[in-house]
């Protein structure tokens, strides 16, 4: 059968299928009335991991983004217009992330995409945002995200793997750890912390005994735990998220091992969820580090107040997303444009300046309108931006869990 005949064949698409498909198309087309670029609210997108491996953090991101948007809108919005948040689920997975990002960009006409927890999703949508001129702010930490020419459209609101890995080394040295082993989950972020940690720790005179990597969602982690803990290192750096950390900490405890566990703040801190998962006995003595605001952060308190959480709650991804939205709003106001290629470049000038620090987004917005000099001191950390889009000048909190509560031991810079 020649090709053209197949195409021309009138029964190529049976009628009822055309019907079903057109219903689906109609559903797709009946999307929210598309706001023109010049009036109505300014749409910003949040691409959050509501399902999949990032699932435990997705809600936190959405809540933080809504809080930030509310604060900005209560303070009069940007350029006299309201912000409107459009949330999409990336399923912690690049293909879904790309489809969702395309929907946000092409259908919802957002000017920026925030959230973006998974480094893989960030890497996958980066070519699209660069092509379409949309701003991308991510909390993924794989170093590759900020590599290359990003047209000042890609900004990372997260420590990168390198500085976090070094942070762990410093915490261990401070705690007098002489030998350490590594258990690392196979993700771009967790892996990116390993080499810097090894390097810094060995240079400081420590010894790395062994390294084992593992997959997410394994039926059991007993073999991995046996391999790593049986050599009795002083400390074990567990580079993983909360699910795997919980399973590993439990396994190490009931296998009778004593090595101290070092973990990421978003795993071991995570608002007490880790302690809830494993119980205070198992969590006892687990050390974690996390980039923190220097001293007391106004922005962070404002964030906690807005979402109704008590002072002292630690929600790092939320705080980072809060900063993303606030900075996006400030940048739009400052550039007097909703065009990301114009306002994207304003990110460094909003935080790097040599001016009084402001933490309350409403005040910062007011200062901008009045033309007063200031710099924004973030909720997640009092960061600066490097030219490539990475945050610098981060300090890390050094926490330990005692009787089910996280205690701040000190700060590492």
């Amino acid at each position: 059968m020649p090709l053209e005949m197949i195409v021309l064949n009138s029964s190529f698409f049976p009628r009822r299928f055309l019907l079903a498909a057109s219903v689906a198309m109609a559903a797709a087309l009946a999307c929210p009335a598309i706001a023109s670029a010049e009036e109505g609210p300014v749409r910003i997108g949040l691409l959050a991991p509501l399902t999949g491996t990032g699932g435990p953090y997705g809600q936190e991101e959405e809540q933080a983004a809504r809080a930030a948007v509310k604060i900005i809108n209560d303070a009069g919005g940007v350029l006299g217009r309201k912000l409107e948040l459009v949330v999409a689920d990336d399923e912690s997975q690049p293909t879904a992330g790309v489809a969702a990002a395309r929907k946000l960009i092409d259908v919802d006409k957002v000017v920026s995409i925030g959230g973006v927890w998974s480094s893989a999703v960030a890497l996958a949508i980066k070519p699209i945002v660069l092509e379409k001129g949309v701003l991308l702010s991510t909390v993924g930490s794989a170093d590759e995200i900020t590599d290359g020419d990003n047209k000042r459209l890609v900004w990372r609101f997260q420590t990168n793997g390198k500085s976090w890995g070094e942070g762990f080394s410093k915490a261990m040295v401070k705690d007098g750890v002489k030998s350490a082993s590594i258990l690392v989950l196979q993700t771009p972020f967790t892996q990116s912390t390993i080499q810097p940690f090894r390097k810094a720790f060995t240079e400081a005179g420590g010894k790395v005994l062994d390294e084992v990597s593992f997959n997410a969602g394994q039926p059991s982690y007993r073999t991995e735990v046996e391999r790593i803990f049986a050599k009795k290192p002083d400390a074990v750096f567990v580079a993983a998220y909360i699910n795997e950390l919980s399973a590993i900490a439990k396994e190490a405890f009931r296998s009778g091992y004593e090595s101290k566990i070092y973990a990421f703040g978003n795993a071991a801190g995570s608002n007490g969820q880790f302690v809830k998962n494993v119980g205070a006995n198992v969590a006892e003595g687990v050390v974690w580090t996390q980039q923190v605001p220097v001293g007391k952060s106004v922005a962070y308190s404002r964030y906690l107040k807005e979402i109704g959480k008590p002072e002292g709650t630690i929600m790092t991804f939320g705080a980072q997303v809060f900063d993303q939205i606030v900075l996006t709003a400030l940048a739009i106001e400052k550039a007097k444009s909703t065009d990301a290629t114009k306002f994207g470049g304003e990110f460094p000038s909003l935080v790097n300046g040599d001016a009084p620090s402001l933490g309350d987004p409403a005040e910062a917005l007011k200062a901008l309108r009045e033309g007063k000099p200031f710099r924004y001191a973030g909720a997640a950390s009092d960061f600066r931006f490097a030219d490539n889009g990475d945050q610098t000048n981060l300090s890390y909190g050094h926490f330990v869990i005692k009787s089910g509560e996280s205690k701040l031991l000190g700060e590492i810079r």
């Binding site: 059968m1 049976p14 498909a21 509501l50 459009v86 890497l123």
Partner: protein, 304 residues
């Protein structure tokens, strides 16, 4: 919106290729390939990695097709002389292991970081802003070629032999034909199509990593074939189109349905896929399409 439709249509084209491949293997040949996503992933990786190494995209695509076809044939050899249950679990095991190897052998595959900056075929041919339409055209062209080939195959004597093998291997064996041979060839041809689909996936996203490939791809493919009607290539085309648009449509649901979070909606969506599969198998075993048969085949099957 147009850009979004173009992107979605490209996804439809890739899904249609996957559906057509499964329709050949399972619909026509009766061979259950639960590890379909693994072969698809392999295609994507071969095409992606070769392109990044500087091979012309079309050459990379051809190598992907040949490579996946070869591996499909091998995995079929291991198990097709046993019953279908074994083939299903062997392919599933193969796919899961392949994903592990790709995740860990970073020196070769860049591990969990994934392969970035994959170049599309004829990337520089299109005027600025038309790259996506250009790629869609390539994808649709691939679908057309595969569709025409499979239609031809279905009507050929080999197609008749494949269906006969599915319906009653004993009879085929009695006629002196090698069932093993038929099955290995069916699996290899299906594998080549999966390699093509995987390669197009790599080109479309320009970035691949192991998390993009999972058993859910297999589930969607089975859904497409069951809805389209086992053996009906045209049905599979239409059902792939419908399925992707419904799935994409559910993305818009979040904007309207309040009180249900995205994770609940995702669960409902997949629940419907699962239940739909069973319900269709029970009540509409032939799906909505019809298997193409030459008049000769119709005659021979009625005389059996």
């Amino acid at each position: 919106m147009t850009a979004y439709l173009i992107a979605t249509l490209t996804v439809v084209a890739i899904a249609a290729l996957v559906g057509l491949a499964l329709n050949l293997q399972w619909g026509m040949g009766g061979l259950v390939n639960f590890g379909l996503f693994g072969f698809y992933m392999l295609g994507a990786y071969i095409a992606g990695l070769l392109t990044v190494q500087g091979a012309p995209p079309l050459v990379a695509l051809a190598v992907a097709m040949i490579g996946v076809a070869a591996l499909s044939a091998v995995s079929a050899l291991i198990s097709v002389r046993l019953s279908e249950d074994y083939l299903a679990i062997v392919t599933l095991g193969f796919a899961e292991c392949l994903r592990l190897v790709i995740s860990y052998e970073g020196w070769l595959t860049r591990g969990m970081l994934g392969v970035t900056g994959i170049e599309r075929p004829f990337q520089n041919l299109w005027p600025r802003g038309f790259a996506d339409i250009g790629f869609l055209a390539i994808a649709l062209f691939a679908v057309l070629i595969v569709y025409a080939t499979l239609q031809g195959l279905a009507r050929s004597p080999f197609g008749r032999l494949v269906r006969a093998t599915r319906d009653d291997p004993g009879v085929v064996e009695a006629l002196g034909k090698s069932v093993l041979n038929v099955r290995v060839r069916v699996f290899a041809v299906g594998g080549a199509i999966l390699g093509l689909a995987g390669g197009l996936h790599a080109f479309y996203y320009t970035y691949i990593d192991p998390t993009q490939f999972g058993p859910i791809i297999t589930a969607y493919a089975f859904m497409a074939v069951v809805v389209g009607g086992r053996g009906s290539n045209r049905g599979v085309l239409v059902s792939a189109f419908t399925l992707i648009f419904l799935l994409e449509g559910s993305r818009f649901l979040v904007d309207y349905v309040h009180g249900l979070g995205a994770s609940e909606l995702a669960a409902i969506r997949l629940f419907i896929v699962g239940v739909g599969l069973v319900v269709l198998l029970i009540f509409k075993p032939d799906g909505f399409g019809r298997e193409p048969r030459s008049t000769l085949a119709a005659k021979s099957s009625s005389s059996l």
